[in-house]
Structures are given as structure tokens and as C-alpha cells.
Symmetry: C2
Subunit: 358 residues, 2 copies
């Protein structure tokens, strides 16, 4: 196969994929998907390495299978000889990992936290509520939560600060409180189980500055939380509408310029087009992006994986054995007071065309 | 001192600082500066930890000194008892470092590169041209250059790709060529010494895909370089005009959507206000920010430090013993073809009100 033939073939595959899904899927996305398939035959690892929304990725896989370029069997994906020839003619190379093994690529080391914080947090997590689909839950590994807290402490967003955690199945509020550094921590969540769990831990562990309150993000922020916090932390649902609503609540909760916000964003459910749209929304809201560390957050596999929206898209099925759903840690800082409405939002905030897990 | 008195005192200090410098300086900047002074008495370490443009930071220091809150002597900065009381009343805490010691906070590990690449690069760097002020030079540590290359390789921006390096005192083109992965590497620089050095290394080391050509970024990009590369790498001068010109040349050199660019940006010479302005410019140019890793790049101290613009701003003088000037690694990816002019730029592109090193 000549390079020219390969480019034309890829171009047809792209056209067909785009006709089938209302999600951006670029030549570079296809290249990343092929690079991942050259690097692993594990379905979940291929998703992680592709950095492409799963909705488009799975459609592309089905196209490859239909053309005899890919085989899907027993949860494994293998490029056929023709598939490998196509990748080679396109000049695609396997992914060459360079991730730091010590910090898992985060750049911050949770082992810098006091040992007692780590030990108590790990013990508390043994009894945490299970993730449920109704609230688009799925929590991160303990190392991830601890790393986020170490990061925020490093950046001066923890010690002496008032913190609001918007949706806290990751138990960031507990890890933050265990450090003893923040002045006050409020965790809010729609899930009564989490509210009870966090308040029970606060009582049992003597964490007097930690409190959890039930709150539905679709409702306006209560006036006592407006401009009342130094830092917000959240891990939003990724439909653009749900994401925007969550971040707006966070921005409205901040006192003003110089206050910081933390959130995650994935490739599985968000294209780079959506990332760009979000970046513009943040700038328009008076925030600057100060840090963006991809694959910072690793999610523990949740129990409802076989009923998630994207399960039926997969060309072969096997439960994942290791984390495969990752998100990029974003830190923003306010440069001016945002001009945002604090109004109720009706209806479904979990779904958009790139959503995969709800 | 009550918290209220401290806030009022800080507010006066901020007002005075802002009157003296035409550079944004926020309450949070002042807080960061005080946190740094609580963490170290080393002038250069205080700059690194403050993450504030040096022009504003040094003015703030002079204000603190004038009010008996800070002592500057023999290259050391020490908060007085009154200064410490102010910081305490404001609730400012020392910086709590959480940086991964193994990768120095980069998240990527240059030790994943083949050993021979590392060894040959280190050896080549022993004879590199010295940094000179006329071109705003100042190169990064070998570990930094190697980490950038490991990062780009990981992200699929190296292997089989054509790469242009715009200004290459960091010798990224050489490190990239040593991996043998890229299809072609063009290094361009205004400095004839670097062109000769890179071409001589390419000849001696048998790096046939590497070439260096003299080029002044103020000139339009030659037509044969337009839309000809997959990846650009640069470490721009940080005046907004110089930065924008450099990145525009890089974007114009890219083939189109899916191509990637790498660049650095500091706190020493760029406020978060300028960062936000740059982020908007990138989005407007059709790019999305995919990674932003602060303090990724550490600069080797250059020989002209005593004649740099900011030397006379410092309240006490001592040569730095370790790296203190860092930049944040940014990776962008093109989502659409940028609409940019390829025209000549006249005059000084090195200076703006936040510039510190030229």
C-alpha cells in the first residue's frame, strides 16, 4: 500500500465514521486510535491511549472491523495484517509511554502528605458508599484524591482557606479536612448517602471544620454560599450543559479575584472541540487556566459498567481489570468577578452527544 | 494586629505597588509573595515560589522594606517580626511543596529515553554556545530538553513527524534527532553560532534528517515552510508582541488540524492577565490547549544576569546558585486552519512592561 492509498483509505473511513456519529472525529483522532491499537490488544487500554471520545472511537472500530482491518474477540482488539499495513503506510507509530512511574504522571507526590493523613484516609475509604449511575458517579483512586489535595496545598489553595466541594463521591472534602489545614470545608452533593457518610466521618474523626449538606446543582446556589469561598473543587458531569452549570456554581461560590477552582475533564466523554469550548467559557467568565495535567485522575471501575450508555457501543465485551477512565486536572484562577446568573436549570444535565457513562 | 487591620494594611501596600508599576498585581499575588518569604530567605528561591512577575514583585518587596516589614541584606530577604505578624494576621501559610522528586514535577520521565540518546545529548551539550542577551537567550537544563522530547514522543508528535524548532538555544532539535524517530527536523534561529553548532553536530553525529537554517522571526515565514510541518516547538520571548509573533509563525508552519505546538511561558515575565490574553489568542487562532505543566522547564543561569533589566530592581544582590527561572510547558493542538497573516514585524519584539531579562 502506498502512502497516498493509505491516506485515501483513511479519509473514507473518517467520512463514514463522521456520518454515523454527531461527534467531532479528526484525522489526528484516527491516528491516535490506530497508534493505541498498535500498542495494546486490551480494549480498555486502547480507550485510555486513544484520547478520543468513546462514541466516535467505537464507531471507528466498527468501521475497521467491517473492512477487515480489525478483529474484536473476547474483549480483545487486534489489527489484522491489512490493518497493520494501513497504520504503517500512514506512518503511525505505537504509543511510547514516558509517564513518571513514581507519581503516575501527576507531577505531585501524595507521599509528601503527613503519613497519618494517608493512613486515616485509606481506612475511611474502605467503607465508602458505592458509585451509582443515577447521579453519574464514579470515584477516583485514593492516590488521585490525595494527589489533588497535595496539589492544592502546594498551590496555597488549602491552608487557611474556605473550600467548597461540589459533588464529592471522590471524598476530597474528607482528605482536605484530615490535613487540618483548611479553615472550613463544605461538601455538597445530591446523594443523601454521601452526606450522611461525610458527616458521620467528620463526627467520628473529630473533623469540626468539615460539613456536608445536600444540594442539587440544578438549583440556584443558596445565598449564604455566594462569594463565600476561596477554593472550589469539583468533578463535573461532562455534557456541556452539565459541565457549565457545575462550574458556574463554583465560580459564583468564590469570593473574587485570586480565588481558585479545580475540576476534571476527560477524553472519553469530551472531544478537543468541547475542551476548546470550555476553555473559551472559562476565559469569558473571568478565569485563567493555570494548570492542565492530563490523565491526573484515575477512576476506580464502577459497578454499573455493563449498563452504561457506551457498553453496547463496544465491539467486544469484557469487564476492565484496571483503571481506564481518566481525567485531566484543571486549575483555574479568577482574574475578575464573573458575571453569571444564579438560576435554576431544568431537565437532564447529564447527557450530550459525547456522553458515555450515564 | 487584627485580621481587619492586616487586610487594610495589605490593601495600602497593594495600592502603592500598583501606582509604581504598570503591571497587574493582585491581592493573591501579594499573598503568594508573602508565602514565599515565609518559606525561604533566598532571593531567587523567593522569586520562584512567588509566581509573580518580577517587576511587580520587586516593587512590592521595596514597599515592604520601606515599611520595616522586610530586610534585604547580602542577597537574603527576611521578614521582620512585623512582617511575620502581617503575614500571620492575613492567614498566609508557607509554601508546602509536593513536587515529585523523581521527575521534578514534570510528570514525564526523561529516563524512559534510550540511554544512548541521553548520553550523546549530554556530551554534545558540553560544547554548546553560551547564552547571549542580544537575542534574549537563556537555555534550559539538559533534563528539561530531554523531558520535552520524551513528552512529545509520548504524545505522538515526534515519531514519523516533521518538526520545526523556532529558536533553538535549548537544542531541542538535536535531542529530537538523536532519538531517530522524526522524519525531518528543521531548527531555525537568528543566531549564526547556533546554526553552525547544530549543523556541525548533525554532520559529526550522522543526523541526516536534522538541518539548521538562519531565520529572523520578524521576517515572514518562507513559503516552503508554510503548512509544511506536523509539530512546532519554541520557547518564545515573552513580550506579548514577541510571543504572538513567534506562535503565529509556528501555527503558520503547521500542516493543519491535528498538528501540535509546544511552548513555554513564565511567571517571572508574564502575569496571569497576560496568560489569559495568550489563551484567548490561541483559541481565536483555532488551537486548543491540551496540556499546561507549570515549572516544567528549568533554565541554566545565564552569564549576563548582572546586566539583565531586572537586576537593578532587586533590593539586594547575589548571583543565583541554582535555577530560579522556570517556565510552564504548554501543548496546543490545531482544530482548524488558523487565519493569520504572514507579514514582517518591525522594531523591538523583546520588551513589554513585564519583561525582565532583556
Amino acid at each position: 500500500m502506498t502512502a497516498q492509498e493509505a491516506v485515501e483509505h483513511l479519509s473514507r473511513l473518517l467520512k463514514q465514521t463522521r456520518e454515523q456519529v454527531p461527534v467531532p472525529f479528526t484525522e489526528r483522532d484516527a491516528e491516535r486510535a490506530l497508534a493505541a491499537l498498535l500498542s495494546t490488544d486490551n480494549l480498555w487500554e486502547a480507550i485510555r491511549l486513544s484520547r478520543v471520545p468513546l462514541r466516535a472511537l467505537s464507531t471507528f472500530w466498527h468501521r475497521l472491523i467491517a473492512e477487515g482491518l480489525l478483529e474484536a474477540r473476547d474483549g480483545a482488539l487486534r489489527l489484522t495484517a491489512n490493518g497493520q499495513a494501513l497504520a504503517q503506510a500512514l506512518g503511525v507509530a505505537p504509543v511510547r509511554e514516558a509517564t513518571c512511574a513514581h507519581c503516575e504522571g501527576r507531577g505531585v507526590d501524595w507521599r509528601t502528605l503527613p503519613e497519618s493523613v494517608v493512613e486515616r484516609f485509606m481506612e475511611i475509604c474502605r467503607h465508602r458508599p458505592e458509585a451509582i449511575q443515577a447521579y453519574d458517579q464514579g470515584f477516583v483512586t485514593e492516590a488521585t484524591t490525595l494527589s489533588r489535595i497535595a496539589f492544592a496545598w502546594h498551590r496555597g489553595d488549602l491552608e487557611g482557606k474556605t473550600i467548597i466541594v461540589l459533588g464529592d463521591d471522590d471524598l476530597m472534602s474528607i482528605a482536605a479536612a484530615l490535613t487540618g489545614a483548611p479553615a472550613r470545608i463544605l461538601a455538597v452533593d445530591i446523594d443523601e448517602r454521601l452526606i450522611q457518610f461525610i458527616n458521620e466521618v467528620a463526627r467520628r474523626e473529630g473533623l469540626e471544620r468539615l460539613e456536608a449538606v445536600r444540594y442539587d446543582l440544578r438549583e440556584p446556589l443558596p445565598s449564604s454560599w455566594l462569594r463565600a469561598f476561596d477554593t472550589f473543587m469539583t468533578d463535573p458531569t461532562e455534557s456541556f450543559r452539565g459541565f457549565k452549570t457545575t462550574i458556574e456554581r463554583g465560580l459564583l461560590a468564590l469570593r473574587g479575584p485570586g480565588c481558585a477552582g479545580y475540576f476534571g475533564l476527560t477524553h472519553v466523554e469530551s472531544s478537543y472541540e468541547k475542551w476548546a469550548r470550555i476553555q473559551r467559557f472559562l476565559l469569558d467568565s473571568g478565569a485563567v487556566l493555570t494548570d492542565l495535567i492530563d490523565n491526573f485522575s484515575a477512576y476506580v471501575n464502577w459497578g454499573y459498567i455493563e449498563s452504561m450508555r457506551s457498553w453496547k457501543w463496544l465491539p467486544t465485551h469484557r469487564l476492565p481489570e484496571r483503571p481506564w477512565y481518566y481525567s485531566a486536572l484543571h486549575r483555574i484562577e479568577l482574574l475578575r468577578l464573573p458575571e453569571l446568573d444564579n438560576t435554576a436549570v431544568a431537565g437532564d444535565i447529564f447527557s450530550d452527544e459525547e456522553a458515555a457513562t450515564t
